[in-house]
Symmetry: C4
Subunit: 219 residues, 4 copies
């Protein structure tokens, strides 16, 4: 199957998943409607819901950057087989789930116990997705010839150090969530910004400063 098709379906899924995040903001308007008479819509009411806005910001950046790296990764091959499609499906299953831990964080970040449960769940979902990305990349590198790779895809060893370092950040963030859920959420946001600039090498970029074929010491 042409990899274009899998990409265009994935694009649609990413676009919907990122837009679904706004549904965690809508109850801020609704729940005052339900309690109309008890307390009206005030600037203070909006300010009190800062965890929902912070969670929206972090998850939006995260899904956006994931979309970007998804394209970079699938852009290195021209064909996909059933295994790639299955891996892609597991990856998307994690991405589509992101609004759920986002909702947990938006509703419970200020709870003494609930905040930790929410932030840890957030971190675990991120780690599951990171594992999915790594699995996909290892598979693409190992089967690049039969997948019609545009150029040689390196097995993620040395060249992926910084990529992996970012994944390690999710583990650290999840551990920090046990102490301070707010700090953990900020770390998850910074990781998204980090991935925006430190990322999987794009097909064109990897060639710069790369040893000539046959002399690659990292393989």
């Amino acid at each position: 199957m042409d990899s274009r098709r899998a990409e265009s379906f994935s694009d649609g899924v990413f676009a919907v998943a990122i837009t679904v995040l706004v549904f965690n903001l809508l109850p801020i308007a609704d729940d005052t409607a339900a309690t109309r008479g008890i307390h009206a819509l005030t600037a203070q009411h909006l300010a009190d819901h800062w965890p929902a806005f912070l969670a929206y910001l972090v998850s939006f950046l995260t899904i956006g950057i994931m979309w970007l790296n998804h394209h970079t990764m699938l852009g290195q091959v021209t064909k996909v087989n059933r295994t790639v499609l299955a891996l892609n499906l597991f990856l998307l299953m994690g991405v589509v789930a992101i609004p759920f831990p986002t909702a947990l964080v938006a509703d419970h970040l200020n709870d003494s116990e609930g905040g930790k449960v929410a932030a840890v769940t957030y971190g675990l979902v991120m780690m599951a997705i990171a594992v999915g990305y790594a699995a996909m990349w290892v598979y693409l590198a190992a089967h690049q010839r039969q997948l019609g790779a545009i150029r040689r895809v390196r097995t993620p060893r040395l060249s992926t150090f910084r990529f992996t370092a970012g994944n390690g950040g999710y583990i650290i963030g999840t551990l920090i969530a046990l102490v301070s859920p707010v700090a953990a959420l900020i770390i998850f946001g910074l990781l998204a910004v980090y991935y925006l600039f430190e990322h999987l090498p794009a097909p064109g970029e990897i060639e710069q400063g790369e040893p000539p074929p046959g002399q690659d010491p990292t393989l």
Copy 2:
């Protein structure tokens, strides 16, 4: 009409339908918010909602695999007429409805009576979709010439035995739902995995081991 157009619209529908599944997880965050003070968000609270996570997993795989087979099927022709579009619409009507039985299962799998009603409804929707796929395929095979088939499409007889076998699984699963809704849901999940590898022959694959034209004993 060019079949590409129908495919791209269908892709969009599949992408939205698969993402809508997360809406069955969001109330897990919300309903604790509503009962804040009665019981907070705890790990136990999340674990208690395992039917919702299981239903998400099964339906996500199911819609993902259906998207895949939808592409394989429509990829065999280059043009579509009004009848194909009407069949496609009925097919999509079933796919878009999947979040509904998923919600039934997510909310009621542990109920003594409700669990059975939920799982049976799930199975009935799956069977309706399976009938839709079969109808589409029979029509495509019967009108392949006027639909500009890339290569000869076989009427689903012998070659579709394993495909049909999978559909039989939905009937068995629905019957088992009358006894054990959980077992039925697991069967529906396994059927999705089954279809990932045993599937409609793709335009390229079917040619392998196929008798030369004019000697096909299955027609």
Copy 3:
């Protein structure tokens, strides 16, 4: 602007709007969850919600057929200007709103007074969309040269009689809604089926049985 772009954006909107219809089914699972203990999920509970299922069926077919005719219409030109884009936006505003009258009908079809209000609202939205389609077509026909029409687009006079007849059906259906909301909803469903086969002439079809240029008696 290339008409392709407007079409692909419209496709996305249609795909999301048609999938949003399932949100009118989800409360059927939820409201029993809210009243758990009072009455469990039973087959009877599902059967009692037949208006929601009927509304889903009618609106799904309607949006699906609208997508089809939208394509046929925009497929007759190769370029679009700001006026076409504005007309298209008004048209889509009606299509995106369809889940709202669908929700009214799903929740209130059995109410003595509410059923009529719901079905009349449904009919009014349909009529607004029909006006949008007619306006778009008249504009496309009048400006076909500057919009790079693939072939001569006829002003909707005689050739559109049956198309207009369908629109008349919405007026009749809305009037009937004042007496029997259920009958009106069935009429709206039949109109969708009618439009599936009696429709705007596609670029290729219109040429059959058409008088040679310069002798067209309908202009």
Copy 4:
């Protein structure tokens, strides 16, 4: 990265965001269902919710026009780099958020205090998006060579006066929201109509009446 890809992802996000607006209408059906017995669905009940319909109209036009200008802007270059993608992500974050202030306005426009908070929030979101558009355009103009601009993109000075004037309208509207939220919402609607006809020059249009290269007094 090819700018086409970023455009197609953005298209998907716009299409979903514009369709999500209908979710602010659905509770009009639901909340009568919850209070069934207290007051039924009547024409009066629908008329009482006019702020929700007005908010739907204004936000639908706004997102529609933003989609249009987004295309015009990205259509001037053929490649995008990480900075453009980051700017685009911030822009889309604002667009996706629009259903939230729309919900505030839909639910609270008639509240004495809440109406002002809602309309001011609406205006602030619009201003944030306008800043995003301006930042994107300035960046595209400054890096047009490396982004493969189809033709010379002018820095937004004189030529953008009318575009900027529109942005100024959002500031005025937000100030008016402090006095009359309804008037502010109408102004936001008129600004959308204004942008439909007064807009960023499209690649083809800008050349008309433009001074020959090397003599442009506005640079």
